[in-house]
Symmetry: C2
Subunit: 359 residues, 2 copies
DNA sequence: TAAAGTTGCACAATTGTTTGTGCTAATTTT
DNA sequence: AAAATTAGCACAAACAATTGTGCAACTTTA
């Protein structure tokens, strides 16, 4: 049944030892002074028998699996699935396979997954952590496992990461809102204590401060990157007394929930309320109101992270926390009510629009 | 550095043979008449040392990797990523890990991936094939590899599959269009010669015939499930002389492309043109015009396929092609112009609305 | 008390590969 | 022609687990 051609098969057939066959097939013939004749006959019969070495035995002996663990909070979120795609493609080209683990945004599952992958002797890990704690990640890293963290990193953890410039992305988005006359801007957060969330909220705060606008803590709401959080918080925001004119939504799914609430309340975007969202999506342009978004370089995130990781794996050198921060870009569409349409004539000097000279 | 506690470590420490340790840890103590005392001390020190067997050695010996290959044309397509999510979750619960391969809709890459996975001795495969050819899939299956095919199956291939009732889904969608007065309906296809495409197109044809309407071959266009195909074909459809009033789009991405073309031409949905799409998406409700869609049971597809596969793996029994076809459902939103809004008073008897009694 | 039976475990082979070491035979040197 | 090289490869260990067989030692039976 199974393809059971091993080194032994070839060795027996030729009356040669397995070690010689192995050396020839690994290109070490000259190093071990195998004769041309022997080399040729081995190569020939290996091809004839369609021999391929058993990776399990190889891995066992060499302590190398050519396998990488990809740990992600939700593969069905298009942000992560597009990263997964690029990670997988690059990995394949470099001779590695991907073991996928979806942690369902659950810290316990994440811990389990990491332990499983460590047990399975993967050569390295790309983790987009849930982001609540990192002690077990650190443990595994200190055990010698190459790791790259993606998207949600930990400032206090000395492991290479690649992420977006979330602070600047948010800063620009909020500045854009302010420039267009918005003063009462809500921020619907994702999972708190995660770096992308913190950085985006920080961008929100500092943009307001930069324009000498007060930060109303009651307008910073929410606690998850999911759709339901967007829905609930928007519902509440729309019911309260503060007359918000814009919502800054910290993720694509939050935005979908926000839209659900907004339409349910019979409001229009952007006439009644503006919205600006992190994460551009293929459909962003075709929404009821095409969405103004902060887009991230997903493709590059995937590609860079895998390259950083394989560097770590193959060089055995550990850079002291080599990090990559990718620029974001504000894609202006129709979901923000503009100044000249608002009737709001209050003049706002545009100060030092942070970072407009970057990227 | 690495966690190098093996059976030997324990055996040495206790002055016991490795075989005894192995048997105790595998619960075969009584079968091999190991004394309670020995059993307990082994169990105790194994726990103390935090021993876990090396899966590579285990796999090598047992010829079982507890690993499943998931082969998919495009993981960034939300249809597939939601399937992947459910497959991964179920597999994990059952003690299997997923090796992910994205074939980029490329037959050669698919072949390579399958050979790689076979080499890696995965215990089984879940394949959503590109769908152009199946000889290498058949070869692997005949070699004894358990396989379940998902979404795109091959009618001539005797391998278990799980898919949607694409025919009926399309039939209902088209019937709905006809019931609402549409007569000139275009169909933008996906990859031809794939079963979901063929079945959906067949549903399209037969629904028309069922209403005694002619099938205009010139209105069946396209050749890919991607966005660009939707865009190009819609552009062309809108330029030609036949006054189509509705588009049946065979995939979610095609629909996005179609929308791009429609809006680019300054047309409105559904006033100027109606559209109905296969694949419901989280955003379908929030599009410029909420999209009427044929939704598939992605979650169930993932769960059922993994269960079928693991049945195959663990029972070693091969059902002669056990197949599962899941019902679809038409979600009526706003992208179809309805009869009472059309002014089209032509009376159409609704014949035997196929399958309205199912599900 | 010797034969028979049972208890409790060790030995060694096996899975397929890689690699350090070392041995024989051929070739070269002196 | 004997000694020294060198070519060409085999042997066996190691990676970490599983499993069939077998053998002491102990216990039971007659």
């Amino acid at each position: 049944m199974k393809n059971n051609i091993t080194l032994k098969t070839i060795a027996h057939q030729l009356g040669i030892s397995e070690s010689t066959v192995s050396r020839v097939l690994n290109g070490k013939a000259s190093k071990y002074r195998i004769s041309k004749k022997t080399e040729e006959i081995i190569l020939k019969t290996a091809k004839e028998l369609n021999f391929t070495p058993n990776p399990l035995a190889r891995s066992l002996r060499l302590n190398k699996t050519n396998t990488i663990g990809l740990v992600i909070p939700d593969i069905s979120n298009p942000f992560f699935s597009s990263i997964a795609r690029n990670v997988e493609q690059e990995a394949r080209k470099l001779g590695y396979s991907i073991i996928l683990c979806d942690t369902e945004e659950d810290t316990d599952l994440e811990k389990e997954s990491l332990e499983l992958l460590e047990l399975r002797k993967v050569d390295g890990l790309i983790i987009s952590p849930v982001g609540q704690t990192f002690n077990y990640i650190k443990r595994i890293y200190n055990n010698g496992m190459p790791i790259v963290i993606i998207d949600r990193y930990f400032p206090d953890l000395d492991i290479p990461y690649v992420t977006s410039d979330n602070y600047k992305g948010a800063f620009e988005a909020i500045s854009y809102l302010i420039d267009n006359g918005h003063r009462s801007i809500a921020c619907i957060q994702g999972l708190t204590h995660t770096s992308p969330n913190n950085e985006r909220v920080r961008g929100y705060r500092e943009a307001l401060l930069n324009y000498h606008l007060p930060v109303d803590e009651a307008l910073i709401v929410g606690d998850s990157f999911g759709e339901q959080n967007g829905y609930l918080e928007t519902k509440l925001l729309l019911k309260n007394e503060k007359n918000i004119t814009a919502i800054f939504s910290v993720s694509n799914l939050i935005s979908l929930g926000a839209l659900r609430a907004i339409y349910e309340e019979g409001l229009r975007v952007p006439e009644d309320i503006s919205i600006i969202s992190f994460d551009d999506q293929p459909y962003s342009d075709y929404l009821a109101t095409p969405m103004t978004t902060v887009t991230q370089k997903n493709k590059e995130m995937g590609q860079i992270s895998i390259k950083l990781l394989i560097n770590q794996i193959e060089s055995k050198i550990r850079f002291s926390s080599k990090c990559v921060i990718l620029p974001t870009k504000l894609i202006k569409r129709k979901s923000v009510k503009l100044k000249n349409e608002t009737g709001n004539t209050e003049d706002i000097s545009t100060f030092n629009s942070y970072g407009s000279d970057h990227n």
